[in-house]
């Protein structure tokens, strides 16, 4: 494959290959020589139409460890809302010889649109498109779970993962649902009914409105960021009521299985969906998710781009 747009596009073998490669990358990153020459002379563009410092620097670190040249292009503040700038920007980057474009955009489908256009011939990596997908986040989540609960190999069969919070607006949730299913895990979505997308009952998941009932069942719980503005759209009455029912606090920590994990894609709203106590508890792998993010993104770049120019993808 040439692009990474959605975890739904991945085969079981491809997903495992990425995770296995990420493990190698992690090993190298921990060694004395952190840098690989693999992508020397290749140009990778971080094209961010939406602010996300953490995702951008994670991709940047990954690309640099593979010796690629990195161009950061922040289109925020320009006429991103007018849309045509995606085409113009992509064509500009194409003229500059970009081998890969890492795209973050507020519009769902932007990465797929770019990949299927003639605006660029490079690989497109979706770094988050609207409320659609964020595939590398799901891959790093799977990598983290696998490392802790499966000794770093194989799939996630037999594990149960709860995704809690604003499923409706979450690209992280969508990417995780596809990937966790592909890898054999059970997924339970937990949220107030207003934040469960219409038709989600047809997704390969269980749905619950009751976090307390779900927590004892899970091997990992992913807490999603909840934006306070959602209150203004009547998704829930108050932040306090949301926290009361769906926040991960110290009382709820006690409901969890001994070896279960607490995860969060960040940035956290401490006090809203997660308390400091939970975020900083021994079960929390939130910081490690950040570390693993670099390894997983290295793996993705490596697998998409290593090989002859314009013939990337042989490796996946």
């Amino acid at each position: 494959m040439r692009h990474l747009l959605s975890t739904a596009d991945l085969s079981y073998a491809q997903a495992n290959k990425i995770l296995d490669t990420a493990k190698e990358m992690a090993r190298i990153s921990e060694g004395p020589v952190k840098k690989l020459p693999t992508l020397r002379g290749r140009t990778i563009v971080n094209l961010f139409f939406e602010d996300s410092t953490r995702t951008r620097i994670s991709f940047e670190a990954a690309a640099k460890r593979l010796s690629a040249d990195v161009i950061n292009f922040s289109a925020k503040g320009s006429s991103a809302s007018k849309g045509e700038s995606l085409k113009d920007t992509a064509q500009t980057l194409q003229a500059m010889g970009a081998d890969a474009v890492i795209l973050r955009h507020s519009a769902s489908g932007a990465a797929q649109r770019l990949a299927s256009s003639h605006w660029t011939t490079g690989s497109v990596i979706n770094a988050g498109d609207g409320t659609h997908e964020h595939p590398t986040q799901a891959l790093l989540d799977a990598f983290t779970i696998r490392k802790h609960l499966r000794g770093g190999t194989g799939d996630l069969r037999g594990l149960t993962v709860a995704i809690v919070g604003d499923i409706l607006h979450s690209r992280v949730a969508r990417s995780n649902i596809h990937l966790l299913n592909l890898l054999g895990a059970q997924v339970i979505l937990v949220a107030p009914p207003t934040l469960i997308p219409l038709g989600a009952e047809k997704w390969p998941v269980q749905i619950s409105y009751d976090l307390d009932a779900v927590l004892p069942l899970v091997d990992a719980v992913m807490m999603l960021r909840v934006q306070q503005e959602r209150m203004n759209d009547f998704f829930f009455p108050t932040a306090r009521e949301y926290s009361h029912y769906y926040g991960l606090n110290s009382d709820r920590l006690k409901l969890m299985k001994p070896n279960s994990l607490i995860m969060h894609p960040g940035p956290m709203n401490r006090g809203l969906e997660i308390t400091a106590e939970s975020a900083d508890s021994a079960r929390s792998v939130i910081l490690e998710q950040v570390t693993n993010g670099v390894s997983v993104r290295m793996a993705v770049l490596y697998l998409l781009l290593a090989g002859a120019p314009n013939e990337g993808g042989d490796l996946i």
Binding site: G83, A107, S108, G109, A110, R113, E133, L168, R171
Partner: protein, 437 residues
Amino acid sequence: MTDYLIDGGVLAHGKNVQVLISDGRIVEIDRIVSSPNAVNAVRVDARNCLILPGFVDLHTHLREPGREDSETVESGSRAAAKGGFTAVSAMANTFPVADTAGVVEQVYALGQAAGLCDVFPIGAVTQGLAGQALAELGAMADSKARVRIFSDDGNCVFDPIVMRRALEYVKKFNGVIAQHAQDPQLTKDAQMNEGFLSSRLGMKGWPSVAEESIIARDVLLADHVKSRLHVCHVTTSGGVDIIRWAKARGIQVSAEVTPHHLLLTEDLATSYDPMYKVNPPLRTQKDVMALREGLADGTIDVVATDHAPHSAESKECEWQAAAFGMLGLETAFSIVQATMIDTKMMTWSDLADRMSTAPALIGGYSDHGQSLRVGSRAHIAIVNPTRGWQVDRDLVASRSKNTPYHGMEFSGSVVATFFRGVPTVLDSKLVRSNNGN
């Protein structure tokens, strides 16, 4: 004026005829016409063709004045002629809005100057389409454009008291309010039909209830004040049910369906290609089937194109940023044939009714939609149901190329169009010099 003899075709009900046209009217129609004038008439070969009354569109965005980069009255008229249309209804959402006698007269005059079909302006219901204050409905009705259909299309007349008053007010001149049924609160930032697919694609959903709740409210209002309601572009099976119910109660409601809602489904949004972004959105296969049934049984009175040209820039972008709308005039007939005739859901007479007679009646376009007989105006569409073609966006007559059908093949096509007895299209091509006006 040149006389024309349409030779070798059949009428909608199957009768084989020759049609002799002189001075803008049908002067003889028979198996073999007997008039000596037939000898000198220009013969138009209609073998394997149906001879139908010229099509009438109740929902056309011609973009002039204001967005002449995407369409003009003239270019839209050419697209209409190619589609077999002899009358179109220009929607009011232009810049400036067609909410005064001045603007509607201008659009009407541009149509007459183009001379390829009648362009009947639709007047805005409210000033500036803002939904607050009624536009000068009476002045538009009394103008040279003789407006009878009023619509804020693009926007819903959402305030129930504004809608009620508009329905009442137009009774004076037998007008009709054409409602774009869309609850704006339920569709804020909406991108596509709400359901399993929108949830998967992460696009803000456009629930069918946003359409149906307005249709339900408006048929009740129309009943209450005993006025005429026309429902623009119905897209949901629930909407069809409500209209069926209303008609059974004797409420004066008519409704239209677009060719694209008869053919396409929301699944096309999976590509995130904004060519499929349209307002109201493409729905599910179940809705498509309900719309076809509704059109067949007469619950839905007419096919209307909602022809909506857009410049390349408004579609060459991500879905969310793209404009709503698709071209419709040049492909309408082929789609109706494919979805309604080839499926045996409708007869050719039904098609002539839904695409000509019924819309002309709703709009009060007395010159159009007449059955083809001696004395009637020669507004004629000649179609060949077995002459296939492939849609090519680079060959459209429209100024814009936003057709979702590019590359699609259809089995039937419009061969010729006569407007006031003069061919605007022959051999499926526009006739460059027409009557010399």
